[in-house]
């Protein structure tokens, strides 16, 4: 394999990931990488982030993967769908920037995303 190929492979594999920082309720920060196209919830589970339960496994039916999107990222992440908004009724301490992390897919634009996990996931 030529160096050019090697380089393009490396950069390709690099672009397939996005950096996500989970900030726990007590301030503990976890900087991890998630695959583009996968959800923030999946990224949390793969990296054993505390505070994300995901009881229903990502079906948007349990509201136990709540995160508060960091204010700086709220606009980029966007608003929940009507279905997700309904499920947010089952979560606690919901804020205007709250989302269910199983409904947020990682994209290139979200590389560097910061989300805060709540103190309690409503169980």
């Amino acid at each position: 394999m030529s160096d050019v190929q090697e380089l393009s492979r490396a950069s390709q594999s690099k672009t397939k990931m996005a950096k996500v920082t989970f900030v726990e309720h007590d301030g503990t920060r976890h900087e991890v990488e998630g695959e583009l196209g996968s959800t923030v919830m999946e990224t949390a589970l793969r990296n054993a982030i505390g505070g994300i339960v995901a009881e229903c496994g990502g079906a948007c039916t349990c509201a136990t993967c709540l995160v508060h999107v960091d204010d700086a990222w709220a606009a980029k992440v966007g608003k929940p769908s009507a279905e997700e908004e309904d499920m947010l009724d089952f979560a606690f301490e919901v804020k205007p920037t709250s989302r269910l992390s199983c409904q947020v897919k990682l994209t290139q634009e979200l590389d560097g995303l910061v989300v805060h996990t709540p103190s309690y996931q409503g169980r």
Binding site: E55, T61, T64, E85, D89, F90, S119, R123
Partner: protein, 342 residues
């Protein structure tokens, strides 16, 4: 004392795996009763994802949770299982060799030769709001279900939630309550539009109050509430005097009483022998999401496999004097007779 209901096998949990266990047991002439805390069959398939597609049931490229439940009910029909819904098994006692006495929270008693725990993630129970110091009020003045409406007559009630439970109880209790306030985090309700309209009409006519916000603080003494504080979305705090709080935030899975039955547990899961799916107590089996063993995958298809193997060993307890002959449904006349097709 009431006469116990006698059955070959008592299955705890009527989710997909509990339902399929009826089929596998039925082929071996074993009758089953099932108990489930939900008021419907299907377990998580019915409660969490009735309309979501499932793609990994062998031979069925796509089926919804509801569709799978319906199909399983059809499949087990020949075996005539008896369902006891809306009840939770609270006690399992070994009273024979083996013989089990199983008691539900509604006081029903069963006598079974074997018990199959197919309880998934545990029992669905109401979500508890994370309000500081809520525990002492629970079941005294904070209620997650309405058992007797009359208990709320002439009381100042605070109902929290935006779905059908919250709206239905608002409409049912409003006529008998002294004053009723519905609290919801947004001015949008997912409940039936008709209920929403009725509720809004009551608010407009002054028959009740609607407050948009989230309950943050409870006041009271000895388990008796006197007031609650609601934080509005603008940050303002409103104090509402009340005698009872009824939060409706849906259901979550809790292990429940399983841990008290003398079973060996491993992080809220029940270890089993993978050749029989029997627990450390002979005659008690665990199949589906609630069990654990090396390589365990929480898949419906794994639960189906576990149900088949469990049934072989259960046969040993239910029909100790009968020899078990392995047969295929495609070719065995005796199995086809049981299925009502031969």
């Amino acid at each position: 004392m009431t006469e116990p209901i006698k059955t070959d096998v008592l299955i705890i949990g009527a989710g997909p795996v509990g339902l399929f266990a009826v089929f596998e047991l039925g082929l071996l002439d074993i009758k089953a009763h099932l108990v489930d805390i939900l008021d419907k069959v299907g377990g998580q398939c019915a409660e969490l994802y009735p309309e979501k597609p499932i793609y990994d049931i062998p031979g069925i490229p796509l089926v919804t949770g509801h569709g799978l439940t319906e199909a399983l009910m059809e499949q087990i029909k020949p075996f005539g299982p008896t369902f006891h819904l809306g009840e939770m098994v609270s006690k399992v006692e070994n009273v024979g060799d083996p013989l089990f006495r199983v008691t539900t929270d509604q006081g029903k008693v069963f006598e079974a030769k074997a018990v199959v725990i197919a309880a998934g993630g545990g029992s669905f129970q109401p979500k508890r709001p994370p309000i500081n110091g809520i525990e002492p009020y629970e079941n005294k003045s904070v209620h997650y279900a309405v058992r007797k409406m009359d208990a709320f007559r002439d009381k100042r009630l605070l109902i929290v939630g935006g779905g059908d439970s919250a709206l239905d109880w608002t409409l049912n209790l409003q006529p008998i309550a002294k004053r009723l306030t519905l609290v919801h985090r947004r001015d949008d309700f997912r409940g039936a539009p008709d209920s929403v309209n009725k509720m809004r009409a009551l608010v407009a006519s002054g028959g009740m109050d609607l407050k948009i916000g989230q309950v943050t603080l409870l006041e009271g003494d000895n388990g008796q509430l006197t007031a609650a504080s609601v934080k509005g979305n603008d940050g303002s705090i409103t104090r509402i005097e009340c005698d009872a709080l009824l939060p409706f935030f849906g259901l979550t899975m809790k292990l429940g009483p399983v841990a008290e039955w003398g079973l060996k547990m491993d992080d809220e899961l029940i270890p089993v022998d993978t050749s029989t799916f029997e627990t450390n107590i002979p005659g008690i089996f665990a199949i589906g999401d609630i069990n654990t063993y090396p390589g365990k995958l929480k898949l419906i298809l794994s639960g189906f496999h576990e149900a088949a193997l469990m049934s072989q060993k259960a046969h040993h307890y239910v029909h100790p004097d009968k020899r078990l002959v392995f047969q295929y449904t495609t070719s065995s006349t005796s199995l086809q007779k049981k299925l009502g097709v031969a």
